[in-house]
């Protein structure tokens, strides 16, 4: 129980099945406040499903999911979980394509999400400053008034990270941020995430080993819906069970 109390995110024995197929079977994991954790695992290991459970998209059949030691996430919906301070970047980048880069960030900016508050909302000076900061962080100042659909794949990924930051979350869940990026973009994204981790906790799912090595953080290996191994990148890379799972890849 102590483990739960001092943690930011606490998963214990989480199980999820889809029509009999067990996507998660007894997944347990603890993320400390301020930590950055990398999660790897072969296709279908349950990484995305794990994020679905944390963010309220999927209800687990069994197990405990606690945020900040005490808040039970399994009883809340997506919007409520988001407003607790858990932000998510999806595997397939989903930005609002028919709106400008800046408007995408405006939508994500922390603030009252109520219907009438948004109806009568006027951008404050502080919000405008924050928007400029975010645009600079994700290097999209020059394209802020363009429609998001005109961005390159890598830029969409960054915009999504920017939207995540705009929500001022305590915990960021980032699903495959560098898929489809060039090597240079990948390294820049690692840099960006490390910078973000100076103030926020991050859970990042990624296949790209170079990227995970570049992050230089504790790694959890998922396999068939449960934790296979955990530790430094060198530790897990030399774990015989991990080698077996990844054999031939």
């Amino acid at each position: 129980m102590d483990l739960a109390k001092n943690s930011l995110l606490y998963l214990d024995g989480v199980a999820v099945s889809f029509d009999g197929y067990k996507a998660l079977r007894g997944l347990s994991m603890v993320i400390e406040p301020g930590e950055m954790r990398a999660i790897i695992g072969p296709n279908g290991a349950g990484k995305t499903t794990m994020m679905d459970v944390i963010t309220g998209k999927t209800r687990p059949d069994e197990g405990e999911v606690l945020f900040a030691g005490s808040t039970d996430l399994t009883q809340m919906d997506e919007a409520a979980i988001a407003s607790l301070g858990i932000g998510r970047k999806f595997q397939k980048p989903t930005v609002f394509e028919s709106q400008t880069v800046r408007d995408n960030l405006v939508l994500a900016l922390q603030g009252d999400r109520g219907t009438f508050a948004t109806l009568f909302h006027r951008l404050t000076g502080r919000e405008a400053t924050r928007l400029d900061e975010l645009l600079e962080t994700i290097k999209l100042q020059d394209r802020q008034n363009e429609l998001a659909k005109n961005l390159s794949h890598g830029q969409k990924q960054w915009l999504e990270i920017g939207m995540l930051l705009a929500q001022e979350p305590k915990l960021l869940l980032v699903d495959e941020p560098v898929a489809g990026m060039t090597d240079a973009e990948t390294m820049e994204t690692a840099h960006l995430l490390r910078k973000i981790n100076e103030t926020k906790s991050v859970v990042v799912v990624e296949h790209d080993m170079h990227f995970v090595r570049e992050l230089g953080v504790k790694v959890t290996v998922l396999h068939e819906g449960a934790v296979l191994s955990e530790g430094s990148i060198d530790h897990v890379a030399n774990d015989p069970r991990v080698i077996e799972v990844y054999l031939g890849r």
Partner: protein, 376 residues
């Protein structure tokens, strides 16, 4: 707060449309009332009435575009909100008849006397007072939309399923209003109106006044809808339309936004119906027929979904076409309408206004910058 909110509604397209509509609202009644019959610019009364009807349809189309074009809610039941507003107005007009009815009953409308009813049903209380009727014109459709939306959107019914249940809703109302014991005139509906607010409903001046008010209502609804879509809430609506679950993950309660916009839109449709009824002189259950709601969707598609001004253009254009077509080949209108829908979907997917505005957006750009490549 309200002023700065409404000011957001005046983007270029809407301002332009509002100016044109304002000219029409004033010019048509003047040309009807003050120019001699033989003057080339004289507008005959039957046209004032016909165009007033188009204006009411245009307002319905704006209401529909607000939910469909901007929030992706394809309502196939907006005709029901229109008809409910129309019935509320019809009930007021019925009670104005008083002793001038065939049976000359001071309280009961003719059809109730005919059915041998002894007293006025509770649903009809208060409708002799215009203020109450005007309130019900918005309240009844708004309440229905709120309750319907509350259940449908909370259970996350979307897409085709939502369209089907909206269609079922209007069909159920159609059947209900057909029944005599509902107390709304059954099959025959409400008609034989005499006057509105003391003015003879047949008089040219009343018709001209109704025309003016209806176009004014179109203007107000355009500005209001435009203010909504240009606000931050409008951005949320677009976000819901394009990526609903993503919008939830940023922390917006999608169902609340949908209920809000659906209710606003239903109130607007109700007012449109209320303005329609005194101009056509009758409201009956056929206004609930599912085909009406589908026709409204076609107006919006033709004019350009998600452009607001397009809804007005589409409603007027299609109905003008309908008037002409049903005169020339009465049996084939539904085929023509179907063909129009298919053609627009295939060849003009953005509709008239959508296509025009993307042409205009493209023209000023010098050659070679048509499709700027994303920078590395």
């Amino acid at each position: 707060m309200i002023t700065s909110f409404l000011l957001k509604g005046f983007d270029r397209r809407v301002t332009f449309a509002v100016l044109i509509l304002a000219v029409i609202a004033v010019a048509v009644p003047c040309f009807n009332l003050y120019l001699p019959q033989n003057h080339p610019l004289h507008v005959p009364t039957y046209l004032v009435q016909l165009w007033g009807k188009y204006a009411a349809y245009a307002m319905l189309a704006v209401a529909l575009d607000l939910v469909w074009g901007y929030c992706g809610i394809l309502s196939l039941g907006h005709g029901a909100f229109f008809a409910l507003g129309g019935y509320a107005m019809g009930m007021y007009l019925m009670r104005q008849i008083g002793t001038r009815g065939v049976y000359a009953h001071p309280i009961l409308p003719d059809f109730m006397v005919f059915l041998n009813w002894k007293e006025l049903p509770v649903t009809w209380y208060g409708f002799d007072w215009f203020g109450y009727a005007a309130f019900m014109v918005m309240f009844v459709p708004g309440l229905l939309a709120f309750v319907f939306g509350w259940f449908a959107f909370r259970s996350r019914v979307t897409g085709v399923y939502l369209s089907i249940i909206t269609q079922a809703m209007t069909y159920a109302l159609l059947l209900a209003f057909f029944r005599n014991d509902m107390g709304f005139g059954g099959n025959n509906g409400l008609t034989d109106f005499k006057d509105i607010l003391g003015y003879n409903i047949q008089a040219d001046t009343t018709r001209a006044g109704l025309f003016f008010l209806t176009v004014l209502a179109v203007i107000v609804s355009l500005i209001l809808a435009s203010a909504i879509v240009n606000s931050k809430l409008g951005k949320v609506l677009l976000a819901i339309r394009d990526a609903e679950s993503r919008t939830r993950f940023i922390g917006y309660r999608v169902e609340n936004f949908k209920v809000f916009v659906f209710t606003v839109s239903a109130c607007m449709a109700g007012i449109a119906g209320a303005l329609y009824v005194p101009q056509v002189g009758i409201i009956n259950p056929s206004e609930f027929s599912p085909a009406n709601s589908i026709e409204a969707v076609i107006w919006v598609a033709v004019g350009g979904r998600g452009t607001l001004v397009g809804a007005v253009v589409g409603a007027v254009a299609v109905n003008w076409g309908k008037t002409w077509f049903t005169g020339a080949f009465p049996a084939y209108w539904l085929f023509a309408l179907g063909a129009l829908f298919v053609l627009v979907t295939l060849f003009l997917p953005k509709g008239i206004i959508g296509t025009l505005s993307s042409l205009m957006a493209r023209r000023p750009a010098p050659a070679g910058t048509l499709n700027p490549k994303p920078a590395e």
